[in-house]
């Protein structure tokens, strides 16, 4: 009995010693969690986020770390896979907050995961910034949640105005993904705005499809029979590739207009010639970029061998917003709760961040005020700048 007791003391001392070492070592780093889709529906989105994060991490740590109130802190990024599922995104957010004790979270990217994960971040009082989510609900009435992208109520009218001007459209059709918050919300905003500008019933077909559907022939037959001037597709790039091909099989020769979820480097490998000549609204145009944006693109291209899409650029900006927030906070106390609070206030008080996707200011909902661009997919398969729209 005596022996066991001694053993117990030795182990508890050892345990205490170990944890204090970990705590001591951990004090010098700033932990930021990434809640990103590395597998599932949109793996390329997660990959680009991770690569952009890694690039920034190496850059900052090579300079000795982030300067907060005169002291250098090394950064530590933790990448967790949310499988592009809403329920996994919630679990990952909790894991990052509870187990990894991160000071702030970047992601999730897609609104489908960002809306529920935002709730978790807000309830647990941890700052979160979604690089790519455009659904208003992600940040609405959640003081702890921010984003780096513009909103769908802004993006929808951009698409409508562009189509009215470029296609001289009188009638539109929409095909959206029912199970995807982003797609459904944007489709509804587009429908309302188009009907407002061209009279009720100007959206002649408003069709949806379910999760993991691969055949869209019935919906497309209905759309083509309604004879719209163009089809609006607020969908993920993998579905876009299938829809555009099937529409061409069914004899559709008209225009497609897409939204920011098209802007992925994998779109052209999946879709090929079928997608060329179509337009979509997005956050930045990679072809013909200048200044800091060009530097970012060139560096990414050199490191990873392909042109980064908007999500990589937005992740880069989102991390910079978090870092600016930390610097605004002034110091790291080591008390996670207090630091999170200080960082939230730091982000909210940012006056302006010069990002590579445009300059950002935050309004009271934690949403940035920034411009959108419309790009054309040219014959070389590049995303070419067509128009820029600012609020």
């Amino acid at each position: 009995m005596k022996k066991n007791y001694n053993l117990f003391i030795i182990f508890s001392v050892l345990f205490f010693f170990c944890t204090s070492i970990v705590a001591f070592a951990g004090e010098e780093t700033i932990k930021i969690g990434f809640n990103i889709p590395l597998t599932g529906e949109i793996p390329k989105v997660g990959e680009e986020s991770k690569f952009a994060g890694q690039m920034l991490l190496d850059e900052v740590n090579a300079k000795g770390g982030l300067d907060v109130g005169g002291k250098k802190y090394k950064l530590e990024f933790i990448y967790e896979d949310n499988e592009s599922k809403a329920e996994s995104a919630v679990a990952v957010a909790l894991k990052l907050i509870e187990r990894d004790q991160v000071l702030a979270m970047v992601g999730p990217n897609s609104s489908k995961q960002a809306v529920p994960a935002g709730q978790v971040a807000n309830d647990n009082r941890t700052p979160m910034i979604s690089p790519w989510s455009t659904n208003p609900d992600t940040t609405k009435d959640r003081p702890w949640v921010f984003r780096a992208a513009f909103l769908d109520p802004f993006q929808g009218p951009v698409a409508v105005d562009f189509a009215l001007k470029t296609f001289k459209a009188e009638k539109a059709a929409v095909l959206y993904a029912l199970a995807n918050d982003y797609s459904k919300n944007l489709a509804e905003i587009f429908q309302a705005d188009f009907n407002k500008k061209k009279g009720a019933g100007a959206v002649v077909a408003f069709e949806s499809y379910g999760d993991k559907d691969q055949d869209f022939s019935a919906q497309l037959t209905k759309i083509i029979a309604a004879k719209p001037d163009f089809i609006f597709l607020p969908n993920n790039y993998n579905e876009v590739a299938l829809i555009v091909k099937q529409a061409h099989d069914l004899g559709w020769k008209g225009h497609f207009m897409g939204a920011d979820a098209w802007g992925n480097s994998e779109l052209m490998t999946l879709c090929g010639d079928d997608c060329k000549g179509h337009y979509f609204s997005t956050h930045y145009a990679a072809a013909g970029a200048k200044g800091a944006t060009k530097e970012f693109i060139d560096k990414y291209n050199k490191l990873y061998g392909y042109q980064p899409a908007d999500v990589a650029a937005l992740t880069w900006d989102a991390i910079n917003v978090v870092l600016a927030g930390i610097q605004n906070a002034g110091k790291i106390t080591g008390n996670v709760r207090k630091d999170r609070e200080a960082i939230r206030e730091g982000i909210a008080s940012i006056t302006e961040v010069k990002g590579i996707t445009g300059n950002m200011k935050f309004d009271e909902q934690g949403d940035p005020i920034k411009c959108a661009v419309v790009v054309k997919i040219n014959d070389a398969g590049e995303f070419e700048f067509a128009e820029s729209v600012c609020p």
């Binding site: 993991k212 691969q214 022939s217 590739a241 299938l242 099989d249 999946l270």
Partner: protein, 304 residues
């Protein structure tokens, strides 16, 4: 209006062809073994991936074959390799359980797990990014009035009909087909007649899996984006098609597949597409309530 109905029927025949080809595999295995092979949808996925790798291999510069020749090689090779995959599954997972006389429930659970292993194994080894299937034949769009169809869609429909008649001939005209029907009738008496039951079961898996392989090729050509979970939903739906047709009966699986395709597509054509699965599966439920054994199923007798 008439045009769009005909167009939709054509779409439905094409989509139903895939359900039919996969449902035939479910029904063959069920008919002989009374086993619901839930991994079958994933065997279909494996077939599509095998077709992808073979096609890439032959189209590559070093081989440099034309699309048509490649397709002529892809079809038999994929069917053989997918059949081997199906047989391997039977040898590794199902046969040991059968030898130990395990309850059918355990075998079904094993099948579910095998499906998950195939999906996640694929995810782990090949990564999450999707594969884009190369175009093997030049796509030609025919326009008849307002109806448009492609040569590929016509081939899909024709091959599924052809496969059904070939399968029917094998089951009803050949000796091995007779043995399959025999096992389905009485699993215990048949070995006493000197029929090698394991060989027959293996042959059943070869038939079912090579059909899944063929479906995989046609699917990859029609919907050229492959991902590890592509077989899950279509597999479940094909299973439902097989049950509605009367599981264990190949005519039932064939008709059930087309029926599901037609119901799914016509529901969208008439109602808002938001209600598609809700209405489509309510209709199928109604069919089962009226006729619990399915359209062609017979309660407890020879199946297949």
């Amino acid at each position: 209006m008439l045009d769009s109905i005909i167009q939709n029927l054509f779409n439905a025949l094409q989509w139903g062809s895939f359900y039919s080809l996969i449902a035939l595999g479910y029904t063959l295995v069920y008919g002989v073994l009374r086993l619901i092979n839930f991994a079958h949808g994933d065997i279909f996925m494996v077939g599509a991936y095998i077709a992808y790798f073979i096609a890439i291999f032959f189209l590559k510069d070093s081989m440099g074959l034309s699309g048509g020749t490649t397709l002529a090689l892809v079809i038999p090779l994929t069917m053989i390799l997918t059949a081997m995959c199906g047989v391997a599954l039977e040898r590794i997972a199902y046969r040991p359980l059968r030898r130990k006389g395990a309850n059918r429930l355990y075998v079904v659970i094993t099948a579910l797990m095998c499906g998950l292993i195939l999906e996640n194994g694929n995810l782990a080894f090949l990564g999450a990014s999707r594969k884009s299937f190369p175009e093997l034949i030049d796509k030609v769009v025919y326009n008849v009035g307002m109806i448009s169809m492609t040569n590929l869609k016509i081939w899909v429909i024709l091959s599924s009909i052809l496969v059904y008649f070939a399968l029917n001939a094998i089951i009803s005209k050949t000796k091995i087909g007779m043995a399959m029907r025999g096992i389905s009738y009485d699993k215990f008496a048949i070995p006493l007649m000197g029929i090698p039951i394991d060989t027959i079961i293996m042959f059943t898996f070869i038939l079912g899996s090579s059909l899944a392989g063929l479906a995989g090729i046609l699917f990859a050509m029609s919907y050229p984006i492959l991902d590890p979970f592509m077989g899950a939903i279509i597999g479940w739906k094909a299973f439902i098609a097989a049950v509605v047709g009367g599981i264990g009966d190949i005519k039932g699986a064939f008709v059930g597949g087309f029926l599901l395709g037609i119901v799914e597509i016509l529901v969208v054509a008439v109602f808002p597409s938001t209600f598609r699965d809700l209405i489509a599966f309510s209709i199928l439920l109604l069919i089962l309530v009226i006729k619990p054994t399915g359209l062609f199923g017979v309660a407890k007798s020879t199946k297949i």
